[in-house]
Symmetry: C2
């Protein structure tokens, strides 16, 4: 029970700490399942999901040897379509799912060799991959430079407009009865091995028998979680550009383009509303969210190397987000050291893609059911017994 005798005014079946796409998807589905849900989030513009490109590409984000992660990603991409359709029906808003597929292109022979290795990996996972020479790439995307060495079309890769998706989730959650508290969870309250609620930064408490910590890279700042779990999540900075077509210019690309330019990876993701997202860096810089000259230069340089017409687009926004990374690059989803205390974080570069299946898994836990077997390797318990570092325990 609350230690300091603070008056408990708000109660809920479930408190969800964190209002990014993971927390909001969980809150929506939990409320739809009949639970009384309070979502606590301090300020929306910190969520990594607002800085994402929204690629729904299960394999290219999984590294070689990460078979368990690949299986969760495949489950996630199979689930995404029906989840998005339900979300669009619930809200009446389109979330911008695009199904044109991803065209991976290699700038030079070395890049092409690496792409061929990735392609073999993707085929081994049962996914379609069509090899294309430079001319065939340009037949699909006519603005590609003729210098492109070759490419592969991954027809099964989709994308979603991350900001439309996040906004629709918020709207669906509100319509389903989720109450939103604009504050920050500083501590999970437990007693007798059971979750009892949360403490807020403003000093108030919320009583609930179940708590879901979905605070992205800030999850480690929540007191009351086991120290080894707090230490397991770190911010991985990603910088990203939002470009826009000038008035009257037709779309410069229709597929997501993933390019490797002399070893550097860059992607360009088209949106239905005329945006093109260019990303992204991966930087170990702690909680720094500044946009740097070098990152903007490199992203533009690599994008222009494969798609020179990029130079004509308007630079509408530069931004940086903090992905929740973990030591094994896998998410942290499930019970976390006390009854009713759940974590749903660590989705790293796959938060958008995994949000529907994460919501499914957490709602299963909340309602006494079993999550899908694919989640077993990603329970918080896998970090138990590991020494806690300094980062997460401050």
């Amino acid at each position: 029970m609350p230690a300091k005798g603070v008056l408990v005014a708000v109660t809920a079946d479930v408190v969800v700490a964190g209002g990014g796409v993971i927390g909001t998807a969980i809150a929506w589905r939990a409320a739809a399942a009949g639970l009384g849900v309070v979502l606590v989030d301090p300020a929306r513009d910190e969520a990594a999901s607002l800085v994402a490109a929204g690629m729904l590409a299960p394999v290219s984000e999984a590294l070689f040897g990460e078979g368990a992660l690949l299986r969760v990603n495949l489950l996630a991409v199979a689930r995404f379509g029906s989840f998005a359709a339900e979300l669009e029906e619930a809200t009446g808003h389109r979330v911008g799912v695009r199904r044109e597929g991803t065209l991976a292109v290699a700038y030079d022979p070395g890049d092409y060799a690496a792409l061929m290795r990735l392609t073999a990996f993707r085929r081994s996972a049962g996914l379609d991959a069509e090899e294309l020479d430079s001319r065939a790439c340009r037949k699909l995307e006519s603005f590609l430079t003729p210098d492109v060495h070759g490419g592969v079309l991954f027809a099964g890769d989709w994308s979603v407009d991350n900001r439309r998706y996040a906004a629709a989730l918020q709207q669906a959650a509100a319509a389903a009865g989720v109450r939103v508290v604009r504050d920050r969870v500083t501590e999970v309250l437990t007693g007798d091995g059971q979750a009892r609620g949360v403490r807020l930064a403003d000093g108030g408490d919320i009583a609930s028998a179940q708590v879901v910590v979905a605070a992205g890279c800030w999850s480690g700042a929540v007191a009351g979680l086991p120290a080894e779990l707090r230490a397991a999540v770190r911010p991985v900075k990603g910088q990203l550009l939002r470009l826009r077509h000038p008035d009257g210019m037709p779309p410069v690309i229709t597929h997501t383009i993933r390019a490797t330019v002399r070893g550097a990876d860059v992607y360009l993701v088209p949106r239905a509303d005329g945006e093109v997202i260019v990303g992204a860096t991966q930087e170990e810089r702690g909680p720094d969210r500044t946009v740097t000259a070098g990152a903007v230069h490199d992203l533009l340089h690599d994008a222009m190397s494969v798609l020179p017409v990029t130079s004509e687009l308007i630079l509408a926004e530069t931004c940086a987000g903090l992905r929740p990374g973990t030591p094994d690059n896998g998410p942290v989803v499930g019970e976390a050291g006390a009854g009713g205390l759940l974590m749903a974080t660590g989705h790293y570069r796959n938060g958008i893609l995994m949000s529907p299946v994460t919501a499914d898994a957490i709602v299963a836990c909340l309602t006494g059911q079993r999550p899908a077997a694919e989640w077993e390797p990603f329970t918080p318990g896998r970090f138990a017994g590991q020494p806690a570092g300094g980062e997460g325990t401050r």
Copy 2:
């Protein structure tokens, strides 16, 4: 007198149309000279002076053969110090004048040959110029790349923080009694060969016997001006970046650096508050003020070519402004076809530098005195009799 019988509620000795640094400097000095001044400006953030780097470099902005323009610029730089001192005294705010000088650097031998030609020109104008080899350049600015071929120190070049300067001018004008009307002058009203006032976009009129059109590249949109003068001013787009040092990083440069990188010009101007301005493009794109991916890339690329540490700086802002260009690159300052009707525009890349001497010249006209002789080649009358193009008469 007003043609449409609109009630004349506001009267003034002088109406100044345009609230950039030119219009505001004129308004301040005219009010200080005892005139009743109304300044009309629709929205501050359109002024080209807010997108400037604030370099006070009289010669490097004047092209070979533009001797008359050079003489005005030399007058302007000689005047700037005392004007800025008076402005700082009037407002109690520093405007960020820096006197470290400009280090011009050449990236390759071709760039160096061009720099040597500019240096000879500057010396012929009587200015100090000290040639430096690559090592000496790096002694002055230790973060320059060793690849720089050589450079020249122009010790007499200053810079000013354009935004502090513009804000101080506004404050000084207000303190001197200038009344500001937030509207747009659509027409200069004349009768019997004399200025009678202005018409505003909202339909009201302001009666005054003297009118100064200082509306930058939008001056051509003011009806009632002679057609050939309206046609003489066009927007020349300039894109510019505002970089910032991360917390704890010492300043990466102390001098303004002007670099030529394989024929492309870029400048980096340090500010006392930790900003570094990087600019600028020159584009004939009409009134377009969008920031483009290609321009940002090229500015960053050229800046990083000579000062690699630029990549570590924060990209705080990207912006585009519209300089008022003219057919002969010279300003348009003086009487414009009717008694009491004056123009002060066309300052192109030198608006900040020329604002004090332009204010001096216009106040001389307003008070029945003669402007300095250096202005004679830049009267509006030099365009009289030229055919009016389509751009300025729409």
